[in-house]
């Protein structure tokens, strides 16, 4: 394996030698193979991905687009441009490297379509948009290589569906295209090879792995060996966390949701005796505010930053030497990823500290540490591609040029997430895109696509292409209001509309690490100034991921390994020992169910270890069945580890309540009325192009220009329950919000290996979930009943 002289000289001049995996990537390219590189942070992944391109361009300089690089983050694309330009300049290659993202001006984009650079750095969204222009076919006809960075961050999401469809399109436009994937360490590389390959053929992709990095150091922080019964974010340990920050050069404090980021930031600030500079970073802050914090990190002006998943990916923003995870990480892969943020040299150990929120989270933290040290990560959940994403893709292609349905079907089937797509489903999506897909043929005049004489499909009106480009993309945010300094001031970020609508002038809320006082409103804008006092904290939809199946199994393993208990803090060890004495511990493969009376009620606790989404769905199912059995259920609460249900009558035989028969049918009505399905529907309606995306700052005139997706959902459900978008919404809600698959597995397990423990009082293991009662909102309770309750309360308060 030899590199072209200028590149070999460049390595030599710097006293470097190309690493084995870097050369292996060049070899794969020379053999005309697709390739997937799996390597830890700091292994020179980006250069490995580009090296073959640089070699080819050094040997055969030429105009025209050679390589497209796709990154999940705009900022990453910009960072790679900087890092790539250095070697390109130093080697002396005459290559243009340009970015094309949402931040690129339309003039520049137009110029790129006419006179493309050799290397284009972009995002999945911008690539999809590029494909919607008529010039795309010419521009992309000769492209040799596409590099997908951080492939693990895309592949199982709708952005991944969109990107994979774009790959299929690129392959059609340029049949010789070589696909390259760059990934962090993953559990199942072959699944990713299949995802990357044309026609999902994993054998067409060469797998290249680097030597492993140094094993990380993961500690669990338990100040004074005490750990609380309840809580999820480690707030109780704020003082000890601050002491750790004082010892470090630069620490990232990871939390699991945006609301908790604000809360932890305040807690740390209270303990910050030395007034160290601390920042905050999350997805609801404005891009400007985030860039400011990133720049402060990079230049060494910060000592710590409280962050959400917004910092999971990306760039060497500064010299991070410590990562602190507040609350359990919920997955081994996530912990591994976050740990990698500390220290970007692969031969040095990175250091992470986990601060568990409660006793169960201690076990989970320990399980996650075991998994990371053993190098065993979570399996990724590959799902069939979304039909809403396919609809958007088809419309985008129509915006570029007329297409033949048979050829497009073949091309779409070549995309891994759609490999199993039946022709009937494809036709249904095409029909939806063209006509709305309704049984009632009311819109003959308003079709969006029409068939030409030659049988190909085209747009009925060019205006539709512009509308499509304005609304394209697969990331759908909640409706938000902007937070701005004063009337004309800078934008600080966004809060969700329901929260903003509750605020009054003079109210305070915590945002961007500050207390803000509302001074006024202007349509979607909330004007603020600095305030004081104890603020409300805005909360955001979603954000909390359920415990991974892999970690759940490891936690059960720890419960069944008393030899490990001796190293645990006294609080945890005693908790498990007493549980063993008064009840028993959940086995590795059984389903433990405890029943006990308390406060004139009967409780039933099932230790399912199936994650909070599946447990909440199970709680709904159990209460429905208990109602039918006359057991008079009163409520339920679910956590990642278990679900508790309480009732007026005792459960003596839980087996029929856990029957797997027809449970989906029983849940159908509840699901249909639940906020889960409505939320999922809004997403598919926007992605599928049924309704417009709300662009922040543009919904001032709101009510006439938009139609609430909830209202459309209600009408559609009444008239066309089998409509394509309802099907798509069901698929999303089942997978992401209710975890039906994990629930089904749990019910099967209940039939096989249920262990019933009737107790005379609450067991130690059940305490954490009972402490959640009243804190968690219960998705099952009827809105109507809650409204009556609220009215009664108001009446009582008003006399």
């Amino acid at each position: 394996m030899t590199l072209p002289t200028p590149i070999a000289d460049w390595f030599a001049a710097r006293g470097w030698a190309p690493r084995a995996h870097q050369l292996a990537m060049v070899a794969a390219a020379r053999a005309d193979r697709h390739a997937l590189l799996v390597a830890p942070t700091g292994a020179g992944k980006t250069l490995a991905g580009f090296l073959a391109t640089l070699a080819e361009l050094a040997e055969q300089p030429g105009e025209g687009l050679h390589t497209i690089y796709v990154s999940p983050l705009k900022a990453l694309a910009a960072d790679v441009q900087r890092n790539l330009l250095t070697p390109v300049t130093e080697i002396g290659l005459a290559i243009r490297v340009e970015t094309r993202t949402g931040d690129t001006s339309s003039d520049r984009k137009k110029r790129q379509r006419e006179d493309p650079p050799q290397i284009l750095l972009t995002t999945p969204e911008s690539l999809a948009l590029l494909l919607s222009y008529p010039e795309a076919a010419t521009m992309l006809a000769g492209v040799k290589c596409v590099i997908i960075d951080e492939i693990h961050a895309f592949a199982t999401t709708k952005r991944g569906d969109q990107l994979n469809l774009a790959l299929s399109r690129l392959q059609t436009l340029s049949p010789g295209l070589r696909r390259v994937g760059l990934s962090a360490t993953i559990a199942d590389p072959e699944a990713y090879q299949g995802w990357l390959a044309p026609d999902a053929d994993a054998s067409a992709v060469t797998l290249v792995t680097s030597e492993p990095g140094a094993a990380p150091r993961v500690d669990i922080l338990i100040p004074e060996d005490r750990i609380p019964w309840a809580g999820h974010n480690g707030r109780w340990a704020a003082r000890a966390v601050m002491r750790q920050i004082e010892q470090a050069r630069l620490a990232i404090v990871f939390v699991n949701t945006r609301a908790i980021a604000e809360i932890i930031f305040r807690d740390l600030w209270t303990e910050n005796d030395q007034a160290l500079p601390i920042g905050i970073h999350h997805g609801s802050l404005s891009a400007e505010a985030r860039h400011k914090v990133e720049a402060a990190m990079a230049s060494g002006r910060l000592r710590a930053i409280v962050a959400t998943a917004s910092l999971d990916l990306g760039i060497d923003w500064g010299d991070v030497d410590l990562v602190i995870q507040m609350g359990a990480p919920k997955g081994a892969s996530r912990l591994m990823q976050r740990t990698g943020r500390a220290n970007h040299r692969m031969d040095e150990a990175s250091h992470a500290i986990i601060v568990p929120g409660n006793r169960f989270e201690y076990l989970e933290a320990l399980a996650a540490r075991d998994a990371v040290l053993a190098g065993e990560l979570d399996d990724d959940d590959f799902r069939p591609g979304g039909l809403d994403v396919l609809a958007q893709h088809i419309f985008g292609l129509a915006a570029a040029e007329a297409f033949d349905a048979d050829a497009l079907y073949a091309e779409v089937r070549g995309s891994a997430p759609y490999a199993g797509l039946a022709r009937a489903q494809f036709d249904a999506v095409l029909n939806f895109v063209a006509t709305g897909g309704y049984a009632l043929k009311a819109y003959d005049r308003y079709h969006r696509l029409t068939r030409q004489k030659d049988g190909r499909w085209r747009l009925t009106h060019p205006k539709l292409a512009a509308q499509h480009r304005l609304n394209a993309g697969t990331i759908v945010e909640a409706v938000t209001m902007n937070v701005t300094w004063g009337r004309r001031g800078r934008r600080l970020g966004q809060v969700e509309e329901y929260f903003g609508a509750q605020l009054r002038v003079g109210d305070s809320f915590g945002f961007a690490g500050q207390v803000l006082e509302v001074t006024g409103f202007d349509g979607p804008d909330i004007h603020v100034k600095l305030g004081r006092g104890v603020p409300k904290i805005p909360s955001y939809q979603g954000g909390r991921l359920p415990l991974s199946t892999h970690l759940a199994a490891r936690v059960k393993g720890l419960l069944n390994a008393p030899a490990r208990w001796t190293d645990m803090p006294d609080d945890v060890r005693e908790w498990l020992e007493v549980q063993q004495r008064v009840s028993r511990l959940p086995g590795r493969d059984d389903l433990l169910i405890e029943t006990f009376p308390r406060d004139d009620r009967w409780f039933m606790v099932a230790y399912g270890f199936a994650g909070r989404n599946a447990h909440q769905t199970l709680g709904m199912l159990l209460t429905q069945r208990m109602e039918a059995a006359g057991l008079q259920p009163l409520g339920f609460v679910g956590s990642d580890y278990m679900v508790a249900v309480w009732s007026l009558q005792p459960v003596t035989d839980p087996r029929p309540l856990f029957s797997p028969d027809v449970f989906e049918a029983e849940l159908a009505d509840w699901m249909a009325a639940s906020p889960f399905l409505r939320r999922a529907f809004r997403e598919v309606a926007i992605i599928g192009g049924l309704i417009d995306r709300q662009i922040p700052g543009q919904h001032k005139t709101g009510k006439q220009l938009s139609v609430s997706s909830d209202l459309i959902y209600d009408v559609l459900r009444r008239h066309e329950p089998d409509h394509l978008l309802l099907t798509a919404a069901w698929a999303d809600a089942r997978a992401k919000l209710t975890d039906i698959a994990r629930l089904a597995a749990l019910l099967e397990q209940a039939q096989r290996a249920m262990v019933l423990m009737p107790l005379d009082r609450v067991s130690p293991l059940a305490v954490p979930v009972l402490l959640e009662i009243g804190k968690e909102s219960v998705p099952g309770a009827a809105d109507s009943a809650l409204l009556l309750e609220a009215d009664a309360l108001a009446a009582e308060a008003m006399g």
């Binding site: 709305g436 009632l440 001074t519 209202l711 066309e720 809650l786």
Partner: protein
């Protein structure tokens, strides 16, 4: 529990569907039907389900059957746009014509529609007086006569046990009732929105009909203040 409210000396009953029933006059008031909103969107490339007019008419027929009302007053914006009546699907058109033929039917014009609805039967007026009640599309701030109107599509958000519940509501003061929007695809404006507060002019209540109950929530002071 009373499901009527007393207004201008009359007993008026808010219905769950968003209509206001006046039993003494066998009259049903509805506001902002926005017929053919879906097809207005379809013209611009957003192919919403083409069932909104049919659903809105079906809800109206249900309310008429339950109340036995003989008179219907539509408080403006009955069509989403002036071209709406021409786009009405045949079934919905026939149903609407049958209603206007058999009942005393009054269209008040709004800002979205004009007199085009007259083609479907019924009378068209910009404003009307019925007993003590002034009927118009958009409330007049500071007006002292008892007034029923629409236009603002009020809705209310109630927090209970960590859940947010949103309902269309009737915004009520001593001299004004602003009806919720009736149309299947009509969204809403928070009842405490500054625009609505400016029109209501003072202490207001949000009424929500929930089954056999008439719920009453105080409207928080307006969100607007001088900076």
């Amino acid at each position: 529990m009373a499901v009527s409210l007393s207004f201008a000396g009359e007993a008026l009953e808010p219905l769950a569907c968003g209509a206001l029933h006046w039993p003494a006059q066998a009259t049903l008031f509805v506001a902002d039907l926005h017929f053919e909103k879906a097809s207005a969107f379809a013209r611009r490339g957003r192919l919403l389900p083409p069932y909104d007019s049919a659903d809105t008419i079906a809800a109206l027929i249900d309310a008429l059957e339950v109340t036995g009302a003989r008179r219907v007053v539509c408080l403006g914006d009955s069509f989403h746009d002036a071209g709406g009546p021409a786009r009405l699907p045949e079934g919905a058109r026939a149903a609407l014509q049958a209603l206007t033929a058999s009942l005393d039917w009054l269209w008040i014009t709004g800002n979205h529609d004009d007199a085009a609805a007259a083609a479907l039967g019924g009378r068209v007026m910009a404003e009307a007086q019925l007993g003590p009640l002034t009927l118009r599309h958009e409330a007049v701030p500071g007006a002292t006569e008892p007034e029923l109107s629409g236009h603002f599509h009020p809705k209310v958000q109630v927090e209970a046990r960590g859940r947010r519940i949103v309902r269309r509501c009737f915004a009520v003061t001593a001299t004004k009732i602003i009806l919720p929007a009736y149309g299947a695809f009509t969204g809403g404006l928070w009842v405490d929105d500054p625009a609505l507060a400016a029109v209501l002019g003072g202490a207001a209540l949000a009424y929500v009909r929930e089954g056999a109950h008439l719920l009453r929530f105080p409207v928080m002071p307006p969100r607007l203040a001088a900076e």
